[in-house]
Amino acid sequence: MCVCVSVELRCYINPSTPCHTTPHCTISFAILTTIQTSFLFFLSHFLIMDKIHSHRQVAVIKHSLFDQGYLDEQFIQLEELQDDANPNFVEEIVTLYYRDSSRLISNLDHTLERNPLDFNKLDTIMHQFKGSSSSIGAKKVKAECTLFREYCRTRNGEGCRKSFQQMKKEYAILRKKLETYFQMARQAGPKETALRPK
């Protein structure tokens, strides 16, 4: 582009330089224009491909989250509630979930320290926690909650403690994975603009 401009300038500065009339100047100008256009074409193509690649990466992460059983259909339901006015609804709900459920977890922690264990209370708290986990589609977390409640029902304190530890692990793993997912999704930007020409 700069080369193009300098050629033009030279023509104007030195009027004796035969420019517009000579075939040589016209050809160079044509070549430069072609290079310019090609450059812009490849740049936009690259940007679109980059966007498609980013979206594909996001899709791969999402697919694996479902494949490996971290998320279930409810997560998709939540995504269906997103629109242009509320593009980050799922991320907002997940953030809310982690904030709100942390107090339930510390409540469970304290209640598990008691002796003897109050299984009814444990079950009640876990029921609430399971409900929220189910609402965001946290499949593995929800499964551990079910196991925990079963141990409560059979008054198995050791079982409760073990499954609680396992649940906390799944809870933490999911958090990390979702953080990565949302970050990548945000970076990739809205799908429509990348893949569909306006």
Binding site: L81, E92, D100, Q128, K130, S135
Partner: protein, 207 residues
């Protein structure tokens, strides 16, 4: 025909609130003690073009409706509720208890359809709620299709109610030609639903 259409529209807007766009909107009161679930149900309902009021307890729900005995009904048109969706397990007053309180009302509040939501699939619980007058028992997590189905069902019920009212009003006006049974179709903000699922059959299908 034009007169009956106008009366029909008047009656419908009496029963439903007008949205900012001017079309009649369903006002839903949602009751849930879970913060996450409150946000989700609110979004579900908004996406389905309903006006939503969300409260965190049965007590608050009764307060909102003006049924808690302390504040009388303020008679405000803005609190006209067309549907109540309540969670079953809540501390203090359960959804079942809230349902009972509403159905025991002697006023028009008894007419408001109440839907119970629960994450637990307990047959005795479902039966008890339906016996007490719940319109439907929904298993959590609630889906968009559940809300759509509910909305269609409520709107159909409203349309039938309005048809009856319009018939009465037109008869009293005493139009000269005999009244035909069909009315000009009025566009309602809901998807046309071909079938009306009975609550039990829909729940049994899920079990």
């Amino acid at each position: 025909m034009a007169i009956t259409g106008e009366i029909f529209r008047q009656n419908l807007t009496e029963l439903l609130e007008e949205s900012p766009s001017g079309s009649p909107e369903l006002h839903v009161l949602a009751v849930d003690d879970s913060l996450v679930d409150r946000h989700v149900i609110e979004r579900l309902l908004k996406v389905s073009s309903c006006k939503v009021t969300v409260v965190e307890s049965g007590r608050r729900a009764l307060q909102y409706l003006g049924l808690d005995g302390e504040t009388g009904s303020l008679g405000l048109d803005s609190t006209k509720v067309n549907l109540i969706m309540t969670d079953y397990s809540m501390p203090g007053m359960t959804g079942y208890e809230l349902l009972k309180k509403i159905k025991q009302e002697s006023s028009m509040f008894r007419e408001i359809p109440v839907v119970i939501m629960s994450s637990e699939n307990v047959l005795t619980r479902i039966d008890r709620c339906l016996e007490e007058g719940a319109e439907e028992f929904l298993l959590k997590p609630i889906k968009l299709s559940d809300v759509r189905r509910l909305k269609d069902f409520i709107m159909k019920g409203k349309v039938k109610e309005v048809e009856k009212k319009s018939l009465k009003r037109v008869r009293s006006i005493d139009c000269s030609p005999p009244l035909s049974a069909t009315y000009s179709p009025i566009s309602l903000p809901c998807d046309p639903s071909p079938s009306l699922l009975s609550p039990l059959s829909s729940k049994k299908a899920r079990l």
